[in-house]
Amino acid sequence: MTLTVSGAGSASGSHSVEVRGRDFPTNKGGLCRKGWTSAELLKHPDRVLEPLLKNDDGEHRPISWDRALRLIRDRVLSTRERYGADAVGVFGGGGLTNEKAYLLGKFARLALGTSRIDYNGRFCMSSAAAAGNRAFGLDRGLPFPLADLGSARTILMLGSNTADTMPPFVQHLQGARDAGGLIVVDPRRSATAALTSEGRGRHLQPSPKTDLALLLGITHVVIMDGLVSESYVRERTSGYDAIARSVNTWWPERVAAVTGVPANLIRETAHRLAEPGGTYILTGRGVEQHANGTDTATAAINLALLLGLPGTTGSGYGTLTGQGNGQGGREHGQKADQLPGYRKITDPAARKHVAGVWGVPESSIPGPGLPAVELLASLGQPGGVRCLFVHGANVAVSAPNASSVLAGLRSLDFLVVCDFFLSETAAEADLVLPVLQWAEEEGTMTNLEGRILRRRAAVAPPPGARSELWIMARLAELLEAPSSFPDDPEAVFTELRAASAGGLADYSGVDYAMLDKELLAGEVLAGEVLDGEFPDGGAAAYWPYPAGSGGTPRLFLDRFAHADGRAVLHPVAPPSSSVSASVAASDGMLTLATGRLLEHYQSGTQTRRVDGLLATSSEQVLQIHPVTAAGLGIMDGAGVEVSNERGTVLTVAGLSTAVRPDTVFLSFHFAGAGSANVLTSSETDPVSGMPEFKTTRVSVRVRRPARSEVVGV
């Protein structure tokens, strides 16, 4: 998107800014409501403008930067001395620029000396990433440019509601819709599912937690009906026989009895996917945010591989990355098990390379830490983290089992939160550090296609706010950290390039000058999600982009990233217990799925501060089927209580036939009494560490207190 600043140069900040959609391949000029209104956040009265220290009375009061930084140093040193380096932890975010994500990983390992770093992408992309790495040897959300989708006749979207979460994306579905080939798998009749109506495709509406069985059923038909791309499977994959045997037992009628999707719709879907003319299979959080999310994403990849889609032109598999920098944020060292360039922290060669770039002994880089849910569970516990830094995340709202996370935050010896608003997490902090917003900083983001985009500062930040790079650089000095911690984004990027060189996500051939060339002359840009155009002929920078190369818009055309060049078909199956009707619904419990709304982003810290967004979505609403509601005596708009053993959400009911009668839906954008994550559990995927966000058992009942007690925001 483009920011136009009028009255620029006025140091007083009296300038006004206007956001416009830019005609770029990914958004084709479109913007969502969050994009249109994003400039309102820059001058928002709620902004934190000075470091805030929580006093004994629980009130935050301003202190100087100098005092704040020295306080942090003292607390880090005393914590480290008393409990060891791993008692200091870092929690990052997928919204941070590549430079900040990179430097945060380095800061944790070298300046803090801790292994305890992870980030909110664990709640977002971890299952798809794990599945992509397992199958292809590499994880880039879309291994092809997004615009490629436009030419496809058939697109299968699993658990992705882009019509609400990323509206401009919908333009790329038009070709498949025109060909009657948009197939959406979602337990809800979401806005995206509704795009299949009027002959534009099909909506498959499985019972929650049965996506994997559905995929196995489709795969079964592909194999039984001879739809497998045999030469592709022979030449480009390994593991076919085991897959064929494993899906053999999932014939369509058996799958229908598990999922509620009619057997012949399963057959039709398989045959449609195998038709020529271009087919893409895309997964989203709906199928990934489960305790078996990695296996479900793997099943989608297996299906794509059997059909011969990945690594060909005009067809493929991809996952739709959620956060602004959800791709770049998972590549350069914010993950517990990772070093820059998507390297494994346990790989001796990777450690040696990065230690070389950093100029430190390899042994000074700690080993793997804990994935997010375990990291948060350790807060304040014996042997756990006692001093925590949070950057670009609002775990008090976004993490599962939020009440226990809140308790964990409160049990810390010291909590530092970097944010530009007093988020629910920042409100708990001993120290809040005001940082820059998207339009106030330089840097790069890597979009959902693996394309590296330049973010340019368009407006001057408020005087009291500082870049996180600056904060890390100053703290590294105070902590007498080895290596260097530049606070200039371009210098950090230069170092990132070297650290990533030779890794899977190799950025070594990309530089700021090249990225800047892609921008329209004279126009000032800032990108939260989508950016750039290259009228002057600059090339789009898709990683891997080793020095001397021209980047990689389409991955895997010749080979996959495993040593033998083949993709791995990895057999998966639902746990045997979930296949039987073990979920006894006779107890009156319903299945709660959580997700997003058109109006809001993540924990809502930003979007709940925009009047234009609040106008249409100001409070939590429980989506419930009218038939279910009638059985519970719940009227549209009535106050309801949604509860389980972990907590209770107080909200209002919104009756909708878009949700299955056995399922209710809450968004996770709201805090306080409307915070959906007080209900979700800490159960995680054994491979990816992804929490189970979509199948929480809850009971729902009508409540009768005064309306004023209904708290949503």
């Binding site: 959609g21 000029g29 479109g30 913007l31 969502c32 409501r33 249109w36 019509a163 609400d164 509206p167 401009p168 994306f169 919908v170 333009q171 806005a191 509704a194 795009l195 019972s207 039984m224 009906d225 026989d241 064929a244 045997r245 053999n248 037992t249 369509p252 009628e253 058996r254 229908a256 009895a257 598990v258 999922t259 509620g260 999707v261 009619p262 057997a263 012949n264 057959r267 569970a377 350790s378 516990q381 014996p382 042997g383 756990g384 045997s576 039987s580 009707a581 979920v583 006894a584 619904a585 006779s586 058109l598 109006e599 106008a615 249409t616 038939v627 059985g631 878009a658 056995d662 054994p686």
Partner: protein, 569 residues
């Protein structure tokens, strides 16, 4: 000595020698058992021998008809990889029968005289087709010697026989109106064969379905090209000079001619091995809640040959009909349960045996000292849960017809009369549209499904099965389930109402009224409306709607907010 302590003895031995497990039968249930047991093979804790009478390793019998009509290949329905099992140290013996079990010596004697000693013997001998009494057909199930042109469609050899007839679009006569017969009939008909189903009763599936559903089903079958000869009793075969089948003779005289007779008269558990060894049998080999044969702690039975009924006459779990269902689902559950319980016992036995923590536990403890918050993510095993007792699902099985052109499902007791007064909380809801070939019946007790019939309504049928299996209370408005197959279920969310408050652009939240207002102030193109209102700037899906509103405006100008559209001059 109780079976428990005997079991422990076996595991104590394990410290020096692997547990010898012999599986007799290599069908889908045996394959599932072996799959789940695989980690114990790989670790050397189990020495496995599997003996299969067929020359093929396990394949998915449910799909034999698909092979028979040429829809898929025998290799595609394989369930097991013998080479892989051998590489894990197992012995896979195919195409060989078992002569008898020598319980005293704990060994199995094969047809070729080989003796296989076992610590645990798992019988997965399955079931064989029922052979009806027909003149011209040898009724001895153990030594079938059938005329050519007769098959039971139970194994891959049978499938090959069917294949030759379907390939040349021949005449197939199916004797039996049960679910397997109908599936074969529909598959063969869809692949171009001429198919006749000869069956008892007024309509197919007569043992399971109700009258209304049966009639609708029959008419749909006919419309799919399947000829039905109902209420028929077959008495004999006619054959050609060469002895090949030519026709089926009915008791009232007429002949049903064809190139192939498929016998689909049900299956019967294979029990002779167990009976010969003196194990107690009823409809199947009797096993208790550990799937152990009565009175022999070394022998287990799973799948079609097993009947879960314990020795206690007062056991509530065994009070109903315990005969094997003949369906694959329960067999797979038994296989998984048994293999998991072997694994769990081996693990606990090994720890008890050497009195030390296993290496796995040591690793875990080592990790824990560094990472106290790393939780073991081991799947709950039957041994650790309260489910150390296999109990057959109380629910009657669900019959979902496997067919492409027809959706039909029957479950539970479907006979209840919708018009009768039921004293026990039973209620029946019914929908019938015979002309359209759709029929639904829901039999509930206190709101919970006890039985269902659903024909020609795929979404409703699948959802009813979910509700049946979960035991959930049905919505009081039962018709909400029928509407799942209605056109409105596929409708788009957008509304074409002319109400000015209707949202036209969801992405930007712009109403029809705002767009009309934009037209009033002069916007005459989608781009202009977008620039003025942001409508159409997200997904772009509303561009046609915006265009229509603009066109309507210029055709029938709307007066808004006191303004005349084209000014007051």
């Amino acid at each position: 000595m109780s079976s428990v302590s005997a079991g422990r003895d076996v595991f104590t031995e394990r410290a020096v020698a692997p547990l010898r497990v012999v599986v007799v039968g290599f069908g889908p249930v045996a394959a599932r058992f072996i799959d789940v047991l695989e980690p114990s093979l790989a670790s050397g804790a189990v020495q496995l021998t599997v003996v299969g009478a067929e020359t093929d390793a396990a394949y998915n019998r449910v799909l034999v008809a698909d092979v028979g009509v040429g829809r898929t290949s025998p290799s595609a329905i394989g369930l097991s990889d013998p080479a892989r099992l051998v590489s894990l140290g197992a012995d896979v013996l195919l195409g060989i029968g078992v002569r008898r079990i020598d319980r005293a010596r704990q060994q199995v004697l094969l047809d070729d005289g080989t003796a296989l000693p076992y610590d645990r013997l798992v019988l997965a001998t399955g079931a064989r087709p029922v052979i009806p009494y027909l003149a011209g057909l040898n009724p001895d199930p153990l030594h079938p010697a059938w005329p050519s042109g007769v098959t039971a469609l139970r194994d891959l050899a049978d499938a090959r026989v069917l294949r030759t007839v379907v390939e040349r679009r021949g005449d197939v006569v199916i004797l039996g109106g049960g679910i397997l017969g109908l599936e074969a009939a529909l598959a063969a008909a869809e692949e171009g064969a001429r198919v006749t189903v000869v069956h008892h009763g007024d309509y197919p599936l007569a043992r399971n379905i109700d009258d209304g559903g049966g009639r609708v089903l029959a008419s749909v079958l006919r419309s799919q090209g399947v000829r039905l000869v109902s209420g028929a009793k077959a008495v004999g075969l006619e054959h050609s000079g060469g002895g090949a089948f030519t026709a089926l003779r009915l008791d009232d005289g007429p002949l049903v001619s064809g190139d192939l007779l498929v016998l689909s008269c049900g299956v019967r558990p294979r029990l002779e091995l167990a009976e010969g060894a003196g194990l107690p049998v009823a409809s199947g080999i009797l096993v208790g809640h550990s799937l152990q044969a009565h009175h022999d702690e070394h022998i287990y039975a799973i799948g079609d040959c097993a009947e879960v009924r314990c020795v206690s006459p007062s056991c509530e779990d065994c009070s109903g009909n315990t005969a094997p269902s003949g369906l694959i689902g329960p067999g797979w559950k038994q296989a998984e349960w048994l293999a998991e319980s072997f694994i769990a016992e081996l693990a606990s036995g090994a720890r008890a045996g050497d009195g030390l923590e296993t290496p796995a536990t040591v690793t875990c403890a080592g990790t824990e000292s560094a990472n106290p918050y790393v939780k073991a993510t081991a799947a709950p095993s039957p041994a650790s849960a309260d489910s150390h007792r296999y109990v057959e699902a109380a629910l009657p099985p669900v019959l979902m017809l496997k067919a492409r052109g027809l959706d039909a499902v029957v479950a539970g007791d479907a006979a209840a009369d919708p018009w009768a007064a039921h004293e026990d909380g039973t209620a029946v809801a019914l929908w019938a549209d015979p002309q359209q070939g759709s029929y639904a019946k829901m039999i509930t007790r206190h709101g919970v499904l006890q039985g269902l019939v659903c024909v020609g309504m795929p979404r409703a049928g699948a959802e009813l099965v979910l509700l049946f299996e979960s035991g959930a209370v049905l919505p009081s408005d039962r018709s909400s389930l029928l509407r799942l197959d209605g056109a409105e279920a596929e409708a788009s969310l957008s509304s074409s109402a002319s109400d000015p408050s209707t949202i036209v652009c969801r992405c930007a939240g712009v109403s029809r009224g705002s767009i009309e207002q934009a037209a009033v102030v002069g916007c005459s193109s989608v781009a202009e409306v977008s620039a003025s209102t942001r409508a159409g700037t997200g997904c772009g899906g509303c561009h046609n709607d915006i265009r229509t509103i603009i066109e309507q405006h210029f055709q029938h100008p709307v007066e808004l907010a006191g303004h005349t559209p084209y000014g007051d001059s």
